[in-house]
Amino acid sequence: MSTTAETSRAKSGFSLGAGAYQKLLAFASLVLLLIGFSLASPNFMQTANIIAILQATAVNGVLAVGVTLVIITGGIDLSVGTLMTFCAVITGVVLTYWGLPLPLGIVAAIGTGALCGLTSGFFVAKMKIPPFIATLGMMLMLKGLSLVISGTKPIYFNDTPGFTEISRGSLIGAVLPSLPLPNGVLILFLTAFAASYILERTVLGRYTFALGSNEESVRLSGVNVDAWKMGIYALSGGICGIAGLLIASRLNSAQPALGQGYELEAIAAVVIGGTSLSGGRGTILGTLIGALIMAVLTNGLRILSVAQEWQTVVTGAIIIMAVYADMMRRRKMG
């Protein structure tokens, strides 16, 4: 009796730290990769490189966290990549063109993201357009608008001192010099923690799962399904806004042409992390691990100086194997 209860509680998996046993196992593919690369190259397992891997995870990880929410509702969001860029461009406009102070830029990025997410949500919930199409249309519109607004050129943040600190600085490093974790990574973890909390502990999260599980039954329970769904898309959009800040800060510029293709990588991280594309189940922790697996893989193969064409082949094969291993593990656990 107690076993089942435990399993299902572990499955729901809130709190990034707890529920040790199963959580550790979920890391298996990741840990295996880490061990493999460490053995293959002495340059891999070094503080600087681990931090580089984490930093490489930050943007994709934040996007993946955002899209996890939408996927759990049974939807999909193809616009995350270009939305990130759009938010970065808007921040550029606010900070560089208008010269407003940094906090307003941050609010603009997250607000723009939330607003665009809300719009996608409106298309999906109210206009009943399939999420794939609604967000594909959004993706294209935002892609074009980023170019239009920026005048097809990067917007630099040279006039906003401290902007690069958002991603590159290290608050933790200032306190603990031995752990120079860049703020970008810290923001990823905070975002993931917050999203996880919302998902597991709040009504919004509960409805996220419920919508993905059986939307019609939720509607017939008297829930204003459309409003909640729009809320979830808006939240996801806001998270993309955070990703926009991170990438703009990292590149010290808003690159209007960037972003397409990032959606696939984000969705891949989500699915590798065990979230089902048909909705109703998924965890933020899984998504984080999925994003890390991808970053470790890319970094490790580069460190080994594998020829690029083979990197791609090996990445494809390892992704399949990692997910297969994960499926096996879960099946064994019942």
Binding site: T3, S8, R201, S213, E216, S217, G222, V223, N224, G280
Partner: protein
């Protein structure tokens, strides 16, 4: 004569549930062997083992005297065993005929389909069942009851030696049940062995030869159906005897009208339906399959659009455009189709029970009160006797009847002023059914207006203070409840076609 099927010492363990403990069961050819037991006793699990859906964890199965291993549905089919599953499992996007013959399509050369032959054969089966259904209709357009008939047709099409029926009549009306029994008798005479699972006790006497009772995953015993009193079977099932009281109709002459519907219409499905329910009253809805009762309920609840009609609550006009409006206005609706409209089966019991009442467990910051929800869930699990290892068990892993109890719990917890229950006791065992009836009566006694739609006339008769009868989308009459109305009177109104249209009873 050797037993057709002989199951010995069958064991099945699910994580956290020991579902079958050393179960024995046998079936002779040409008999109808009823399998009875409370919700979650293990009936479906045993049958799924016999039909190759689950692998057994222990025990032996003999078919025609030879020990066999049944490692999949195909193996069971090869042995001449077919099954009608308790949970409908049809392919919604395919037509009726395509569903029936999935995997056995008549083919032309090069893998081409012979669609004409397919539809012809389906037509033949329907004719034998006395069922009027176009084989080309898509399954998603059918009501639950019709879908159930398709499942039955599919099982018949195998022409098996052994036919397992897991609650085939849960969704059926008396007329269809009668048709089904005709078919069962015919199959029986052809030497087919039938395993019959049902929670409708009256069916035992009408169709079964022997009865095996299960409790908590164990066999209690096998008795002849004809000579064993129902009461004894019930006490074998639930471990005690139940008393069966008729409804006591309270005096509601002074009670105010809580809920009124005027001139509700939509196309051919709902044709000018008007009625009212008083505070403290239970209004039963009777009618044949397809009479439109579900449609009326869904329309009131805002789940489907309406063309015309007004709804009044406590005398005030209410505009209901979506279920959210209805719930806000104090109306609750328990759907007849729990799998599609009642439950999020991938979520746990607790989450499902609180689904309609989440605002009650949410603080200002949107944070959920997990402890409070656990408490409420525990309360309803024990109140309704929901058999589950914990309130965190996923609902899809519960037995059918226990899933139904979860939906009931959801609406009891929501605590609405006006409650519409569509087939609330579908698939629920006798003991729990009595509990639910008592609950409905106490809800009414607290001054709530309760509408119960049921295809079981005895249930309607036992519960209702008044009985509304529908036929082809029209309300054909409202009859008094209690002992004053007979089944024949209801059937008369339920078959009152448009030609003979003249409402009887009190004016609607």
């Amino acid at each position: 004569m050797a037993d057709l099927i002989e199951m010995r010492g069958i064991e099945k363990i699910f994580p956290g549930v020991h579902a079958l403990k050393n179960v024995d069961f046998e079936l002779r050819s040409g008999e109808v062997h009823a399998l009875m037991g409370e919700n979650g006793a293990g009936k479906s699990t045993l049958m799924k083992i016999l039909s190759g859906v689950y692998a057994k964890d222990g025990g032996t199965i003999r078919v025609g005297g030879n020990e066999v291993t049944i490692d999949g549905p195909r193996a069971a089919q090869a042995l001449g065993i077919s099954i009608i599953h308790q949970e409908l499992s049809l392919m919604n996007d395919l037509s009726v005929a395509q569903n029936i013959f999935i995997g056995r399509e008549p083919r032309l050369r090069f893998g081409r389909l012979d669609e004409a032959a397919l539809n012809r054969r389906a037509d033949e089966i329907f004719a034998a069942m006395n069922l009027h259904l176009d084989p080309r209709t898509k399954v998603e357009r059918l009501t639950i009851a019709k879908q159930q008939m398709v499942e039955i047709a599919k099982a018949l099409s195998f022409r098996s030696r052994v036919l397992i029926m897991d609650e085939p009549t849960a969704a059926l009306n008396d007329a269809e049940i009668e048709e089904l029994f005709v078919i069962i008798r015919r199959l029986k005479s052809e030497g087919v062995g039938i395993i019959y699972i049902s929670h409708k006790m009256d069916e035992l006497k009408r169709i079964a030869d022997r009865v095996t009772v299960m409790r908590d995953g164990e066999t209690v015993g096998t008795v002849p159906a004809a000579s064993t009193p129902i009461g004894q079977i019930i006490s074998m099932m639930v471990g005690r005897s139940l008393s069966d009281e008729a409804a006591v109709i309270p005096d509601l002459s002074a009670a105010p009208v809580a809920f009124e519907v005027k001139g509700l219409r939509r196309g051919r499905e709902i044709r000018d339906v008007s009625f009212s329910v008083k505070k403290g009253e239970i209004l039963g809805f009777a009618g044949l399959m397809g009479a439109g009762r579900t449609e009326v309920a869904r329309a009131i609840f805002g789940a489907d659009p309406i063309e015309a009609g007004e709804i009044f609550i406590n005398g005030n006009r209410c505009h209901i455009r979506a279920p959210a409006d209805a719930v806000a206005a104090g109306i609750g609706y328990l759907s007849e189709d729990r799998k599609h409209f009642g439950l999020a089966v991938g979520m746990d019991v607790r989450a499902n029970i609180v689904m309609a009442s989440l605002d009650r467990f949410t603080n200002r910051a949107g944070q959920l009160d997990e402890k409070g929800m656990r408490g409420e869930a525990a309360k309803y699990i024990s109140l309704l006797g929901i058999r589950t290892p914990s309130d965190r068990q996923e609902v899809r892993l519960l037995s059918g009847g226990n899933q139904q109890k979860v939906v009931v719990a959801k609406w009891l917890l929501r605590d609405c002023e006006i409650l519409i229950f569509d087939e609330p006791t579908r698939g629920i065992d006798v003991g729990a059914k009595a509990e639910i009836h008592k609950l409905l009566q106490s809800l009414a006694a607290q001054g709530r207006a309760v509408i119960v739609i049921s295809s079981e006339l005895p249930e309607v008769l036992r519960l209702s203070h008044r009985i509304a009868v529908m036929c082809e989308g029209r309300l054909t009459g409202i009859l008094p409840g209690g002992g004053k109305t007979t089944q024949e009177e209801i059937m008369h109104l339920a078959t009152l076609r448009e030609s003979a249209m003249e409402p009887v009873g009190e004016p609607a």
